[in-house]
Amino acid sequence: MSENQPLQYRIQEEISELAASVNEIVTKFRDLQNPLKESSEKVPKATKQLDKISEQTEAATHQMLDRVEKIVQQVEDSKKGLDEIKVCTKDGRTDDISALADDLIEKADITCNDAYTIIDALQFQDITSQQMNHAASLLEDIEVRLQSIMGALKGQPSDETHDEKRRDRKTRVYDPHADLFDKKTDQLAIDDMFARKG
């Protein structure tokens, strides 16, 4: 029995060391659970945001293309009108020239308005840029969490990795609800709020 005692102690010692290691691993895995959970929640959010950017950019581009196509058509029509004016001038038909000139003025006004509509539609750039900043910020957060997990596995204090990453980050300013089509409160409701304020 006495010969076995040191062996028993050694086994007990080994088992308690093993238990401590398992305990440490379990604690580490528990610590990793939160960053992993947060990362897994942020990935779909970032994906959704990127999908929204893609859809809204496409919609805005179509709006602008429609107007550009109209402008091109109006310019083509105006060229034809100018050709007709040339012929009328040659033939001395002054009354026709005046009518054609009025028509061209009207077309120029329409073209101008279509060009302004394109300028107004370019507001999508500000909105999608905020959406992109939101998506980038979510992806940066995921990166920091993953770095923190890697750090924890290597036995580095997690705060150190967080601070290093945050120092390198660009300041991102955005409205997480920025949307080209979906306004949470419409202008009439806003007007009502300001009217009630007096």
Partner: protein, 124 residues
């Protein structure tokens, strides 16, 4: 309208160009620009401004802090301020109202809405 000097504050150069273009089309020719609240305050020290159009989400100094700062300065207590922002959540609008904004437009806006709100604010 003739002696009205408007300051357009927005961190997006594209938005500043669009706002300035819209204002000029509406007949407001005297328009200056700033890229955030801090830049706007610096410009207002040099130039007398009678009307401010400001965004909310901006670096350095956001629109809400800018408005609060202006309202805390005696000379700008009654300066007409129009906020033009993507923020459309009701609580945000209430916050802007409390900060002292005279009217509020959610982006994207139409030229008619911008013109109408400026006129409303000027009419008091």
């Amino acid at each position: 309208m003739a002696d009205l000097k408007i300051l357009a504050v927005d961190d997006s150069p594209t938005m500043r160009r669009i706002i300035m273009n819209t204002l000029k089309r509406a007949g407001y020719k005297d328009v200056i620009e700033a890229s955030d609240g801090r830049d706007a305050l610096a410009k207002m020290k040099v130039e007398k401004v009678n009307f401010v159009i400001t965004d909310w989400n901006m670096p350095e100094m956001d629109g809400l802090t800018f408005v609060t700062t202006l309202r805390s300065m005696g000379e700008y207590k009654s300066l007409p301020i129009l906020m033009v922002t993507t923020r459309s959540v009701k609580d945000d609008i209430v916050e802007a109202l409390k900060a002292g904004v005279n009217n509020y437009i959610v982006k994207p806006f139409t030229p008619d809405t911008l013109k109408e709100k400026i006129e409303q604010v000027l009419a008091g």
